[in-house]
């Protein structure tokens, strides 16, 4: 009878479900926009150019604070992930002794 750690089970299930859901929704949305903006209509062409112009006009300085926080959080997340691995390695080493 395998021993199931409920906390790990919850974490992994949540991570997989949330990641797959978010990926599917994002890809669906991006594909819908791509198909719509690739239309042959004259006005869609105008809109496409307008969207490109709006994108080019975007200023990084408006969002740089939030972007920096996101980057730092990502780095923190990676460090914590690495800490998990280290902890597992230590546990295995101790159990091995």
């Amino acid at each position: 009878m395998p021993r199931i750690d409920l906390f790990n089970f919850f974490r992994y299930t949540l991570a997989w479900v949330a990641t797959i859901y978010a990926t599917v929704i994002t890809v669906q949305s991006l594909w819908g926009w791509y198909v719509w903006l690739m239309g042959r209509d004259k006005y869609i062409g105008m809109l496409r150019r307008y969207v490109i112009v709006q994108g080019l006009r975007l200023k990084f300085s408006t969002f740089w604070g939030d972007v920096l926080v996101c980057l730092l959080l990502s780095v923190t997340f990676c460090i914590l992930w690495r800490a998990h691995h280290l902890m597992w390695d230590i546990g295995e080493a101790l159990n091995g002794w």
Binding site: Q54, T62, F63
Partner: protein, 286 residues
């Protein structure tokens, strides 16, 4: 000279379209009234040519002469006469407008413009003719009865102008210095075209024509002003829409980044909890 004429003919054939582009052989087949109307559009008096062949030859000569005219000089004339012509108009279109000019007030017209006007009125002048001589020849060519009619119209114009109360002096610019009229660029290149007074309009086109032209000009100005207003209003609206879209874009991106930030915070907190849990599990052997 013959080569120039051939070249001019080719040029005309290239740039022209419509009934006035007819070849001499085709012109000879036109009905008499159409031929006379065509001659008038080129500034030719059909009554001076007794036979059809003479009129066809005169039109042909005039078209060749037009093809050889300096286009910039023609533009000088239409600017001076305030004729509504686009800058890209062909020589023939410019010539049609110049043929309609009846004014005998040559102030503000460059020497090259005077040469074009004289040639369009049937005078034989050389390229280096002086301004006073050109004006003298143009006045001499006018004829006694035409001059009398013009004077009569000028008198009527003065009366109407006095009745309406238009101050002619307000429309005058500083007269160009001596010799300026003889320069190649001409006064029109340095001074804006002078607005015609109602007196001048009536003198040129008669009392009804002058007043009608005046009303038309006022209506045109009003319409242009209104169109400009509408255009600026549309521009303002488009700018506003653009501004709002930019705001919406910034807000939308800020929202997305906030959602991403919240997700990352949640991930970091859960992973921290997990790390503590792992530590406790390994320390206490749960």
């Amino acid at each position: 000279m013959a080569g120039e004429a051939r070249q001019s003919g080719r040029e005309l054939a290239r740039v022209e379209s419509g009934p006035s582009a007819a070849l001499p052989s085709q012109m000879a087949d036109l009905p008499k009234d159409e031929l006379e109307a065509l001659a008038e559009t080129f500034g030719i008096d059909p009554t001076c040519h007794r036979t059809r062949q003479a009129l066809v030859a005169a039109i042909h000569d005039r078209r060749q002469m037009i093809a050889g005219l300096d286009r910039e000089a023609m533009l000088d004339v239409v600017r001076w006469a305030r004729r509504p012509v686009s800058i890209s108009a062909t020589r023939e279109a410019l010539a049609h407008e110049i043929a309609l000019v009846r004014s005998m007030r040559f102030a503000g017209l460059s020497q090259r413009g005077l040469i074009v006007l004289a040639r369009m009125r049937g005078l034989r002048v050389t390229d280096d003719e002086q301004v006073p001589i050109l004006i003298k020849q143009l006045k001499k060519q006018e004829g006694v009865f035409t001059k009398l009619n013009r004077k009569r119209r000028a008198l009527l114009g003065s009366i109407v102008s006095n009745m309406i109360g238009e101050d002619e002096e307000t429309y005058q610019y500083v007269p160009p210095g001596p010799g300026a009229a003889g320069q190649a660029s001409g006064p029109s290149a340095t001074h804006p075209p002078r607005e015609a007074s109602i007196k001048e309009d009536i003198e040129e086109s008669g009392i009804f024509g002058g007043i009608a032209g005046r009303i038309k000009k006022s209506a045109d100005q009003y319409l242009n002003r209104k169109l400009d207003e509408i255009e600026s209003r549309i521009d303002r609206k488009l700018d506003e829409i653009d501004h709002r879209l930019a705001e919406w874009r910034d807000k939308e991106i800020a929202n997305r980044i906030r959602i991403l930030k919240i997700t990352l915070w949640a991930s970091v907190i859960v992973s921290l909890m997990s790390l503590i849990y792992l530590y406790l599990k390994q320390t206490f052997g749960w």
